[in-house]
């Protein structure tokens, strides 16, 4: 198992070794802390922590490897909070693999926030810049506070309805030309995106309990495109995907109320119903529906900080 941490400020290697030993319930001799080019590393230690200085707004990268001699190590978030408290500084770690800028930062007081951290190319090295955090950190005041919505969709929702349709279409060996195959692919992608959003809505907007108005609007636009694409499909795919879309629509309708599209329009501008001449606008009832609690009302940022 491995951990990867970014550390703010000075780093005392002895204190770091003691903190890791405490975290893992090991004697301190079981933890080797050293730099990449150190010759006197104890490679027989169950815990190897390579410290590398980094430039920018964070100052050290810890690359920690645990051998199988370390039993049931705590998950990375727990280890990060432990180190932050033990070293009395801010510790960062990757939140999700993509986007690469998605991190968590945790302070010595245990406060944790999402952070957008860019690794920027310089001449011969990279520099780390904290672009934003969602909540202020007492140990690192002055950071820009704003919502970091781009990470939300990295937490994919289950899409059983779409998966079932894909399996049926694949099993049917649907005979199509390239254009039809592309249309089916577009339709299933859009169905999957729509189902992802509806599942997220029903589930209370994981991972953070909110959803930007712009994303909600984009998802309604995706539903529009799905409606357009379905009409271009071969008969079998049209039936399968049409039924699946109706099932997802039913879940969406059950979880929302009709407000005439006013809440979304107030947040993002007029929807298609207010755009005269847009084909099929009257049939796109989903633009008029919104959950009882606005998805974006709990958005993090300066107002909620």
């Amino acid at each position: 198992m491995s951990y990867g941490f970014l550390i703010y400020g000075r780093l005392d290697r002895d204190r770091l070794a003691a903190a890791l030993a405490d975290l893992l319930s090991l004697p301190v001799e079981s933890v080797d802390v050293g730099a990449e080019d150190d010759d006197d590393r104890n490679w027989s230690a169950p815990v190897s922590c390579t410290v590398t200085p980094v430039t920018g707004e964070l100052h050290w990268h810890l690359d920690i490897y645990l051998t199988q001699a370390v039993h049931t190590p705590p998950p990375e978030p727990v280890a990060a909070a432990w180190l932050a408290n033990s070293l009395r500084t801010v510790v960062g770690y990757q939140a999700v693999p993509e986007p690469p800028s998605a991190y968590w930062l945790v302070g010595p007081d245990g406060v944790r926030t999402r952070a957008r951290i860019y690794e920027e190319d310089a001449d011969d090295f990279s520099t780390l810049r904290i672009d934003a955090v969602e909540k202020p950190l007492a140990a690192l005041p002055g950071l820009p506070i704003s919502a970091i919505p781009e990470v939300i969709r990295s937490y994919r929702m289950p899409t059983p309805v779409t998966d079932h349709v894909l399996a049926r279409l694949n099993a049917a060996d649907t005979p199509t030309d390239d254009a039809a195959a592309m249309a089916i692919r577009s339709a299933t992608n859009r169905l999957g995106a729509w189902e992802d959003m509806v599942t997220r809505l029903v589930g209370g907007w994981p991972p953070d309990g909110w959803y930007p108005a712009e994303y909600y609007r984009e998802d309604l636009e995706t539903r529009d495109k799905l409606a357009s694409t379905i009409t271009e499909l071969p008969a079998r795919a049209r039936d399968e995907i049409g039924r699946a879309a109706a099932e997802v629509d039913r879940r969406f309708a059950e979880a929302t109320r009709d407000d005439g599209g006013q809440a979304l329009a107030a947040a993002t501008g007029a929807g298609p119903a207010e755009s005269p001449g847009r084909p099929g606008a009257a049939d796109r009832w989903w633009w008029n529906r919104i959950p009882e609690s606005l998805p974006w009302q709990n958005a993090p940022g300066p107002l909620s900080a």
Partner: protein, 153 residues
């Protein structure tokens, strides 16, 4: 036809998705084999294989020009058999596809050692000492094949 000026490359009005309205920059060099030398070791690391070092620039220009397909489900652009995401800064990051490989922490760390040693394993003493590598020889083998240009996905 793509723009020859830049980066950054401004996106055309026809672009939908996360790149819309942004000026696009190519991926960070940590996604190249040579760039792994100093790259931060992350839980998942996408790297271009040998022979594909130059495709990123072409792909990003194509995304900016509106030639890529936006996949609403994956939230990625698809172009030339590869998929890309876009950071709010406009920096594009490779996700998966032809000529790319994903490396876990051990594999990327091994690649880093091999790059620093110029491909000579005997000049990378950590590979034979560090338990991360001695305990995961398959990670070293994969990284060496990637460095040598012999890796087969």
């Amino acid at each position: 036809m793509v723009s020859s000026s830049g980066p950054p490359w401004p996106t055309s009005d026809s672009v939908t998705g996360s790149a819309r309205g942004r000026n696009l920059n190519p991926p960070h060099r940590r996604h190249t084999i040579n760039g792994a030398r100093n790259g931060e070791i992350k839980p998942s690391n996408t790297v271009y294989l040998r022979g594909y070092e130059d495709v990123a620039t072409q792909d990003v220009q194509a995304i900016a020009a509106g030639h890529a397909t936006w996949n609403e489900r994956t939230q990625r652009y698809e172009i030339n058999g590869r998929s890309y995401g876009v950071e709010p800064s406009g920096t594009v990051f490779p996700s998966s596809g032809t000529g790319m490989v994903r490396l876990d922490r051990n594999e990327y760390a091994a690649l880093q050692q091999i790059v620093r040693a110029g491909g000579d394993l005997s000049a990378a003493p950590q590979l034979s000492r560090n338990p991360r590598f001695t305990g995961n020889p398959e990670a070293v083998a994969k990284a060496k094949a990637i460095y040598d240009g012999t890796y087969q996905p």
